[in-house]
Symmetry: C3
Subunit: 257 residues, 3 copies
Amino acid sequence: MSIITFLTDFGTHDWFVASMKGVALGINPAAALVDITHDIDQGDITSAAFVLDMCRWTFPKSTVFVVVVDPGVGSERRAIALRAGGRSFVGPDNGVFSFIMADTEDCEIHQITNDDLFRKPVSATFHGRDIFTPVGAHLSHGVSLDAVGPLCTDPVVIERPTVVNTDTVIRGQVVYIDRFGNALTNIDRTVFNRLSSPPTIVEIATATMSLGTHYAQCPRGEALALLNSVGRLEIAVNGGSAAQRFGLHPGAEVIVK
Amino acid sequence: MSIITFLTDFGTHDWFVASMKGVALGINPAAALVDITHDIDQGDITSAAFVLDMCRWTFPKSTVFVVVVDPGVGSERRAIALRAGGRSFVGPDNGVFSFIMADTEDCEIHQITNDDLFRKPVSATFHGRDIFTPVGAHLSHGVSLDAVGPLCTDPVVIERPTVVNTDTVIRGQVVYIDRFGNALTNIDRTVFNRLSSPPTIVEIATATMSLGTHYAQCPRGEALALLNSVGRLEIAVNGGSAAQRFGLHPGAEVIVK
Amino acid sequence: MSIITFLTDFGTHDWFVASMKGVALGINPAAALVDITHDIDQGDITSAAFVLDMCRWTFPKSTVFVVVVDPGVGSERRAIALRAGGRSFVGPDNGVFSFIMADTEDCEIHQITNDDLFRKPVSATFHGRDIFTPVGAHLSHGVSLDAVGPLCTDPVVIERPTVVNTDTVIRGQVVYIDRFGNALTNIDRTVFNRLSSPPTIVEIATATMSLGTHYAQCPRGEALALLNSVGRLEIAVNGGSAAQRFGLHPGAEVIVK
């Protein structure tokens, strides 16, 4: 049993995702194919990196993640495959795997150069179909990571914004807005432990709110902050959009006291 | 062979649905995963209940339906699992299974309390991933319904609007607008038989139309009423939106003569 | 192992696609189900025909394609099933398979008349669920094409716009706009060979641009033309929408020099 997942900025209006799935099933007919999302904003590598990092933990070991947010397709940017925490990842070397590389001790990265694994002819504009998916399908079907090409020691990396804390205050920022308008931050539960007493208040530029535990806790239409399902501090409005209400965007400062 | 379906209000912009699928495949790697829809309006329990009721019949017996339209997640609302007509259903006890309970004689309902079946740690905001999906996957993988927890005898129920009929007229209402703008009603073909003669005319507040059999029957842009593919009276505009044309919303009165 | 794909104009807001998948798995529980897209504009048979033609090549032989863009459902329009290039196709006889028929020498077309293969009762408004999907699932499960009904020798055909060329100029037109706003044309790489020297310039009504090879080749926000991943001349704006920038729609003239 093997699982191949797909994360792209292709949308679902055209046939692009389906073409990748056709190629995958041609190589590994028994694979279970799962969509992460195809609604990443066009070329938004940072959001794709975040989404991938948030969901990879819920998939079984040996899952292969094919990621195609690839504004540099056809240029000199490299293609890479990596293994981290028992799972495999295939895509462009543009930083989309940065957070996996930063957080996983056993991460092994290879440049993809073995064109025996590619779909031919390789187009200049759709490496998702011609390189990333076939390499991912071969990995899911028993090909070793060594076989894709040489070790890569200098992958492209996106730096994450840092969290600054004293024993009384934590300063971080919004890093992702989900479809409900919840604003996810780079502050996670581990930072909370560095405070001398449990935090109770969260401040953003335009509002201050209490720290709660679940959405239904406050009246419909009111704001709260909570540690969400992936362990991140999140600013939410029960039944509404916190991003819209407070004008929150990635980069907005968030303070916990 | 087992099938697990997913019905949520999560949209497909983020990783939430994928996280549930990763959890499901971790428990039952051979399951076929099918999306019902993820585009239920946020927290619209009644529409989710309707959609579930409309499509469940087309799935094989033994299919498991995981439903996550759950505005009360993290609060005291219970989690339930039920078996009806040979199929299983897992989700919050908020009325989303009301129509199944009302229409199925052999319906058996259990409260979900056995946390051996949960994903740990259980978050306060994503029971879809941590409770409903793992319980559903275990049910699809051979765990018995008894094992999830004790019988539940007082589930939350949503009342459906009633259809009133004499031998010459039927009064019902719109209950769902589909993506084409067709207005589905709570009037089904069985009620038609209670009229002393076959109906021919359908009236709404702003229009009167003939009762036909299929969309292409009337000229493009014209309205008709018909018994649709799920046996419900539906108000449609060939190639257009009846909801938009006539200002139809759930609750709008519909009269058949 | 068998694959069944679905291409419709149903959207993903309701339960219609899921109903077809439930029916398919009831007949062939081992089938892998793949969505092509459900976002074809309502009743846009020509776009559906184009999308199908673009993606079918990437799927393994023996794949079954169920196509439900069917504005004439319930009328006298016939249902057909065909085999071409080792793959099978099932849907309405409204021209949606025209390009497959035109381009495949070994194409065998049958009218669907054997109602033993249908889901009963057959509704007047959802042949996707009651006829096309069950017939497709039976084909994927070993039923022969002969079994669906008699040969069809006069299928409905959509004519494609023609490409005109001399040895110095090619005249074609836009045939599809993808979700990025790229404008795909009916000019493919084989026509390029008919020119006495390699082309370098592409003209549309409102602009002239160079012929390149990949998006990242020109600065962000600038336009280029290229042979895309399906071998078609495409007009693109790096990181933007060519359709929006230049007001391009299907039918717009494109000249290559």
